[in-house]
Structures are given as C-alpha cells and as structure tokens.
Subunit: 242 residues, 2 copies
C-alpha cells in the first residue's frame, strides 16, 4: 500500500477521479469497486455521509489518504477517488453498435461514450490498435457514461465482422456512397468511425453503405466526437420523436 | 523584444501555434500578421521555403528565435508561431448566426468555430462574460477556422437582440417548446447556446422558439460543442442536399 503508482494500461484496476464520477461508479458498477479514497480536504457533510452509507451497504473499504491524489490527479478539487477492477463487457447481436476503428484519443473516446449513452447506443466495439478505454481520462471525459457502456476490444475489423457482420454497416468516410440525410436504418446497425487523424482505411468503402456528413470545403473534416454524435443523432432520432 | 510574455487577454496581439495554423492565418488574415517566429528545430525544406515566400510577398518579418516557444508552447513539435494583431469582426443582418451566451471554455469555443465553418455558419455573437476568443487555445481548437469566422462580443443578450432580434431565434435548452426534429428555419436565424455548466438562463424560454435535442435520461446533457454541432447540422442540412 505504501507506494501508489500512476495508472497504467496493464494495471488490473482503474480510477474514477472526483466525487461525481465515484457516485456514478457506485451506482452502475458497484460490484467492481475495490476501494474509495478520501482526501483530507474532503469536508464533512451530506455528500460524505451519503458516500459512507453507500460504501458501508456495499461492503467497500474507505481509505483516508492524500498520497494517491498526488499521483493520480492534477485537479485541485478532487477529494474522492473510486478504485475499480477492470471488467469485460459483452455486445448483443440484437443491439445497434458504435464501432471505433483505431481510436487514439482518450478524451474523444469518453465524449463519444457520453453521447452514445444519450442516444441509446451504449454498445461499443473497439478495434485495435486503440486507446485504453479504462484510462482515467476516458472515464472522466465520459462523465460516468463508461459505467453504463458495454465495450469490447477486437484484434481487427475482420474479427468484429465475423461475429456481427450480418447487420447494416455504415462506415463514415469522406469518400462515401450516401450522405447522412439519405440513410434510414431499418433494423440493427453499426456506425463505424476511423482514427482521428487518418479516418477509416479506403477498403471500408467496400463494406456496407459508406456515409458522409456533408459539410463545406472550408474545413477538412469534423472532429471525431462531433461527427459520431451527429451520426448517432440522425440515425436514432425517430426513437425520440414524441 | 528581450522578454517574451505569456499570452494575456489584454494583449494587442495573439498567436497561431504551429505551422498548419500559421499557414491558415497567412491565408485568411494576411493583413493582420505582424511577425512569424521560427524555431531552430525547424528543418530546411519545401515547407519552410513556402513560408518564406509567403512572408516575403506579404512583407512580414520572420524572426529566428527559440525563446518565444518556451513561453507560448508546451508542445514539442511546434516550430513556427504566427503573431497577429487582434481585429474586430462584423455580423451581417442577412446571415444566420451562432450566439454563445457566457461560454467559459476555450477549447469548446474553437471546436464550435470549426463545426460552424463546416456548416456555413461562420458568424458568431459572443455574450459576456465569456472566454477570450483570441486565446491561442481557441485558435488551436478551431484548427484555423477562427480566421474565417466573424465574431463580435456583446455586453449582454439585450444588446444583441436590439441589433439582430428580428429573425428566428432558437435558444437551446432542456426545458423547451420544440424538439430539434420539429423546427425548419425558413429565413435568417440564430442558434443560441448557454454556458457549459449552467446552460441558458430560464428567461430564454420566452425568447423565440426554445429547442431541445432529445436524448435519453441516462445523461444530463450533451456536451456543448456536440449539442451546437448537431443543431447546426440539422438546421443547415437542406443546403447540403445534392
């Protein structure tokens, strides 16, 4: 216990930094929580009482220490850290998916998880090489949505396609067959997005129906979480019509 | 010249950090460029030749120095900085606008400018208190879109409304009259977005037609650049239909 270490990709645990994220963790993945750390700057009051009560009910150890905060958090107002064991998700054949091919930015991945949960698309396939979804930066950017997201890593797209290819596949790329306005997914579908810098490889133009989000030639492309969110909005909006 | 200072809001100049941003600056605001700084790590070659030629044609001084890079840039691979005089934009009555009410995050503002340029909405009103649009963080997040964006600050929303209120106003808020799917702006319009943490004040529900982007109750809200980009996509997409 003496030496706390920086988060590493191969560590068996990860962390929710801050009280809000820790509450999300306790709410949606209580079985995975291994410990909750409290900083000496955390004030007594209703919030801490509520946290104590949740931890007691779930049998989770609370540890008072400032050391781990120096190692894990650069933010001044982080007084609670939730430690949790990493876990494996599972994708459903009957659910629509987001497929991130070689995503490289942790903040973007978290932001996409948050939007995806908002649009009811909380099943995510991640094709390697890819950023580590349990990186605390992903957890933070997701604002806790990661704890309600089923995500699974695949070694390559072929592995994903072998398991889940019998559905409508929509790779998003600049050189595409259809514009986003034109597609109306009927059944179960997957929205495919490439790497931030390089997009999807050309061969994805031969997979399913390639789609572009039309925009002016004044910008090269939309940023990844924005493109993914617009795509999710457009393909799910009939569900939200009142 | 001896002491370079960190960027400040009240400084008369700001900076484009990096070669790509500096090319965007030289392309879209050549008259505003006061100086271009070159780091000793910048390699000779086509890119530097092109930069030299652009600066020579525009009568812009190039300065070889590493000092300003230590002060302004944390990135390792930043070898060029474009310095420019801040300038005032102008909004057109006949153009649709983005209105940011009390935006507080520089990265978000730049990301919104990039999307807005992509959707042909590069006129932006910014209601104080607000982040400084010329902050190099905004410039960077905009990926240069700021140099093609007309933005104007207003002391309060009333000042904006007095000048531009005779158009369709769409305040985006969670407690809204219409969902985004239902609105079809016919003429000139403005899309209004509130602060990242607090959204638009309640009184905006009485202004124009308030709009919500429907999403599940699993998230509190979409993040600001994403909400703004979805709104821009939906309200301009007929223009991009082929």
């Amino acid at each position: 216990m003496a030496g706390y270490k920086r988060y590493r990709k191969d560590s068996p645990v990860s962390y929710a930094l801050g009280i809000t994220l820790t509450f999300e963790l306790l709410r949606f993945q209580p079985d995975k929580v291994t410990r909750v750390y409290i900083h000496s700057g955390m004030k007594e009051g209703e919030t801490l009482d509520k946290l104590r009560s949740l931890c007691r009910d779930a049998g989770i150890e609370m540890v008072q220490t400032d050391k781990i905060f120096h190692v894990l958090s650069q933010k001044e107002n982080c007084y609670v850290i939730g430690e949790f064991t990493k876990y494996e998700g599972q994708l459903e054949k009957t659910a629509s998916h987001i497929v991130l091919v070689n995503p490289s930015n942790a903040g973007n991945m978290g932001t996409i998880m948050r939007s995806a949960l908002g649009f009811g698309l909380n099943q995510m396939a991640i094709i390697r090489p890819a950023v580590d979804a349990f990186d605390p930066k992903v957890v933070r950017a997701s604002m806790g949505a990661i704890f309600s997201t089923n995500f699974v890593y695949f070694e390559d797209f072929d592995e994903y396609q072998a398991q889940f290819g019998e559905r409508e596949l929509f790779p998003f790329m600049l050189d595409a067959k259809k514009s986003l306005h034109e597609i109306r997914p009927q059944g179960t579908f997957s929205l495919l997005f490439g790497n931030e810098a390089t997009g999807l490889p050309d061969r994805f133009a031969q997979i399913g129906t390639s789609v572009i989000i039309p925009h002016s030639n004044r910008i090269d492309s939309l940023n990844l979480p924005i493109a993914a969110s617009i795509a999710m909005y457009e393909t799910t909006k009939q569900q939200f019509e009142s």
